[in-house]
């Protein structure tokens, strides 16, 4: 009797120990389509001791979630490069990266340096680049062949046929279209408020022209593909997906420059699986995985030949949209200083609440 109990205990202990050794879970907090099932399977095959759990989110929700938990609950997050600095200063939700564990040699040097410069705090780097893309406008060339920039969204001749997303991107785009440079005003609160007031006025006047504000990629796709909307603000990746279904609909980098974002890898302060997180980063930056990833996201990986690694149809869409000059004219989002989003928030609410 006693023997058997001891045997059972020993057996249980062995199972627990074995379970403990392999029970590592990598909890990813990322964008929809940034963790395709196929890639997860390949990663789990290569690392049988790691389970991957994915939560899909967006920039604002990622920060809100991590802020609510003090940076715990996730092991790897993917906010855009301009959302690291202020969030870290105010809420302390990330931990510094150990760059020796990341194969940074595969990353495009200027994107890597750009992200590092944007996310360095007290000499510590908090993020490295993963994929990049732009925001601009999308036009149905069959009906709106001469759309060239943000201002076309508010052009009388497209009345009732345009759309935009009522978030900070449209504020910045409209500011550029009105001849201002919002990123240069970031540190001057008064000048920025002045700019916001002008943009607000313009966008309130614009409400007559637009059909509706879109809220997500699916929403936007339905509006464009049904032909209800012919010019819209868009993420380039959404436009590239649509191009595949209707080749009249192309991404148009605004003449004032498409706004470029870089989605990054950052480790939350309370992350419990740093090694697994570093493994994931290195894994998804390999060329064959980049290809799968870009096919799923439509965004361009931060590797030197990122555009070549896009699937055929998306590469065609990128080439139809961008030339060398457009690429040189990209406006990368600058770090958002703390408090700025509150000012933008009230501007956005004024626009939404205004009726005319």
């Amino acid at each position: 009797m006693r023997h058997s109990i001891r045997a059972i205990l020993a057996g249980t202990a062995a199972v627990l120990a074995a379970g403990g050794a392999q029970a590592e879970t990598l909890r990813l907090l990322t964008w929809g389509s940034y963790a395709p099932e196929e890639v997860i399977q390949m990663f789990e095959e290569a690392n049988p001791d790691i389970d991957v759990e994915v939560t899909y989110s967006n920039n604002e929700e990622m920060i809100a979630k991590l802020r609510a938990t003090g940076g715990t609950g996730y092991d790897l997050a993917q906010p855009s490069h301009d959302r690291i600095y202020a969030a870290q200063v105010e809420y302390n939700i990330y931990k510094p990266l150990d760059l020796s564990k990341i194969d940074t040699s595969v990353m495009t040097p200027n994107l890597l340096e750009g992200v590092k410069a944007n996310t360095t705090l007290d000499g510590e780097v908090y993020a490295v680049p993963h994929q990049w893309g732009t925001s601009g406008i999308m036009a149905n060339t069959a009906e709106a062949p001469d759309a060239t920039g943000w201002a076309d969204l508010c052009d009388e001749k497209y009345k009732g046929r345009t759309s935009m997303r009522l978030r900070r991107t449209i504020l910045l785009g409209t500011a550029y279209a009105m001849g201002m440079d919002p990123f240069a005003l970031y540190d001057d609160t008064e000048a920025y408020q002045d700019m916001l007031d002008k943009v607000t006025e313009k966008l309130i006047a614009c409400k007559d022209i637009i059909k509706t504000y879109w809220t997500g990629g699916d929403d936007l796709s339905a509006l464009m593909l049904s032909g209800e909307v012919i010019v819209s603000e868009t993420w380039d990746s959404t436009a590239f997906k649509i191009y595949n279904e209707n080749q009249d609909i192309v991404f148009v980098p605004p003449e004032t420059g498409a706004l470029a974002w870089i989605d990054t890898f950052a480790i939350p302060r309370g992350g419990e699986a740093d090694d697994a997180a570093y493994k994931w980063i290195n894994f998804v930056m390999q060329p064959e995985i980049v290809q799968l990833m870009s096919a799923s996201t439509g965004a361009i990986a931060a590797v030197p030949n990122g555009i070549d690694l896009l699937p055929e149809d998306k590469r065609a869409a990128v080439q139809a949209a961008f030339d060398e000059e457009d690429i040189a004219n990209l406006k990368f989002f600058a770090n958002i200083p703390p408090g700025l989003e509150d000012m933008e928030g009230i501007a956005l609410e004024r626009i939404k609440a205004a009726s005319n």
Binding site: S226, D342, E349, R350
Partner: protein, 288 residues
């Protein structure tokens, strides 16, 4: 001894309920109340005070959105009562015993699908290139496709559809308890249809009406998905502003303030509604 056992079983019986109320209702409310009284003065610097409430009062956008939300919720509640009462009456009084359960079930079926999917159902039907518009053009009734989405009327229709069940269920259960002899007595004493309805049916159904109105009003004022998805460029809803404060503006203090205000204001509306109609909770919902 037996007394102790009785006490223990009572405690055990009440424990899940008390935990639920305490941990999931009271504690979060206190937390929200606390955050709403915290003023942000700088990065990671806070002071205690009513500043967030002052900000709310000073900014007409928020005030107007709250009034708009309350006003539209009242409208939705009234429409739900108007549409729901005949349905409830039919189920409780006119339908035969056997079909009653089936009819009730038919009302429940939409609830098996989530709000989100039902809102998308409306979108598919009502958009410019949607089912209704296409059919009307095809039948030659209208010449141009018409956009029926993205306006306040659509939001009201969508909300009535979402909440009407919560009006029907309490109405059916009160009306079912009504003795038909009451109606016959009313007619025999010379009452017309209108008098019988006004003097007998409505007073009898009042507990159901009050309960249904409170539930639908609260659900509507607190709903998020339907107004966001069906509403257009001009339709702000107060819950959307709470979301914006918490998520896009990282302003938990203002978001918490808005939450407290929404709860307070809707409770006030319910109280005012009860007072205006001369009802009270103890004589209606909590009637023995």
């Amino acid at each position: 001894m037996r007394n102790d056992a009785g006490k223990l079983s009572l405690i055990l019986l009440m424990a899940p309920f008390a935990l639920w109320i305490g941990l999931l209702i009271v504690l979060p409310q206190l937390g929200i109340g606390y955050v709403s009284l915290r003023e942000k003065v700088g990065i990671n610097q806070y002071e205690f005070g009513p500043g967030n409430y002052a900000d709310f009062i000073a900014e007409p956008i928020y005030r107007n959105t709250l009034f708009r939300t309350a006003w539209m919720s009242i409208l939705v509640t009234a429409l739900a009562l108007l549409v729901g009462f005949p349905v409830a009456w039919y189920i409780a009084k006119i339908a035969r015993e056997r079909s009653r359960a089936a009819l009730f079930l038919l009302c429940l079926i939409p609830l098996w699908v989530s709000d989100l999917v039902r809102a998308y159902g409306w979108i598919v039907l009502l958009r410019e290139t949607g089912v209704v518009s296409t059919v009307l053009v095809g039948a030659g009734i209208i010449a141009q496709p018409v956009e029926m989405l993205y306006n306040d009327v659509t939001v009201v229709i969508g909300l009535v559809y979402t909440v009407i069940l919560f009006m029907i269920v309490p109405l059916v259960s009160t009306l079912q308890g009504m003795d038909d002899a009451l109606l016959e007595a009313g007619y025999n004493l010379g009452g017309g249809r209108l008098t019988v309805f006004r003097r007998i049916i409505v007073p009898y159904a009042m507990p159901g009406i009050v309960a249904g109105c409170i539930i639908t009003f609260m659900l509507t004022a607190g709903s998020y998905l339907t107004p966001i998805l069906l509403g257009g460029k001009n339709s702000s809803w107060f819950t959307e502003q709470i979301y914006n404060q918490f998520i896009t503006r990282y302003n938990w203090e203002a978001g918490a303030t808005f939450g407290v205000l929404l709860l307070g204001f809707t409770s006030l509306v319910v109280w005012a509604g009860l007072r205006l109609t001369g009802q009270s909770l103890s004589t209606t919902v909590a009637k023995e």
